[in-house]
């Protein structure tokens, strides 16, 4: 079971780039890395997923080094609306549900 470790909280200002790192030292060969975003009083929302190297979409980028023991979610030029909790999930995509462990996430606060 790939246990993940993330910072509990981070602070930033509008317009800055924010990088949130997730450690997953015992990641398995078939595991994917998935990030979710959760706004207050809402359910989590899938934002990005990757297996290795770099993935980019309209919301974020995900950087995964060659050893895959960590991953970094990068949010370019954050705004106040990016204030949320970000969860890193490491699991084999088609594995049994028993491997689903979301963890406690990283609370990002963006200030003016």
């Amino acid at each position: 079971l790939a246990k993940t470790t993330q910072p509990i909280s981070m602070d930033s200002y509008e317009g800055q780039e924010v990088n949130i790192t997730c450690s997953h030292n015992n990641i398995a060969t078939n595991d994917y890395i998935t990030w979710y975003q959760q706004f207050p009083s809402q359910g989590p929302r899938f934002i990005i997923q990757g297996y290795k190297t770099k993935v980019t979409n309209e919301v974020a980028s995900l950087f995964i080094p060659a050893d895959r023991k960590s991953s970094t979610l990068s949010l370019p030029r954050v705004s106040l609306s990016d204030t949320a909790v970000y969860y890193c999930l490491v699991v084999r995509g088609n594995t049994g549900f028993q491997k689903l462990v979301f963890g406690t996430g990283t609370r990002l606060l963006v200030s003016p």
Binding site: S41, P44, F46, Q49, F97, L100
Partner: protein, 113 residues
């Protein structure tokens, strides 16, 4: 736009009451999940269903049961509500074989007095 809806955003019940939380998804997903979310504990899986009438216990099933009579609907039942079941309850669905890309509902904040 894909959607997972939950019957109530806020619910207040009394200790000992039987409580039903309903979840409906319109994506034709076979997989559905119920989680509870508590401060400092993150999301914890209560039950998982991979098809109609099929269910599996998650990490914390005690005090809960579920019902999946139709593909689009997954119900969480608190047989006799207790104060330690006060929490945010989240429903999600996914398309097999994947369990890591889930669509979540808005959540139901349940208070048991």
């Amino acid at each position: 736009d894909v959607k997972v809806t939950q019957s109530s955003r806020y619910l207040v019940k009394r200790t000992g009451e039987k409580v039903f939380l309903e979840c409906v998804q319109d994506m034709d997903h076979e997989n559905m999940f119920w989680y509870r979310q508590d401060p400092g504990l993150g999301l914890r899986l209560i039950y998982f269903s991979y098809d109609v009438k099929m269910k599996e216990k998650g990490d914390i099933p005690e005090g809960y049961s579920v019902s999946r009579e139709k593909k689009e609907r997954f119900s969480l039942i608190l047989e006799s509500a207790s104060t330690n079941q006060t929490s945010m309850y989240l429903c999600a669905s996914s398309l097999p074989p994947r369990v890591d890309t889930q669509y979540f509902g808005p959540g139901t904040r349940l208070t048991v007095l």
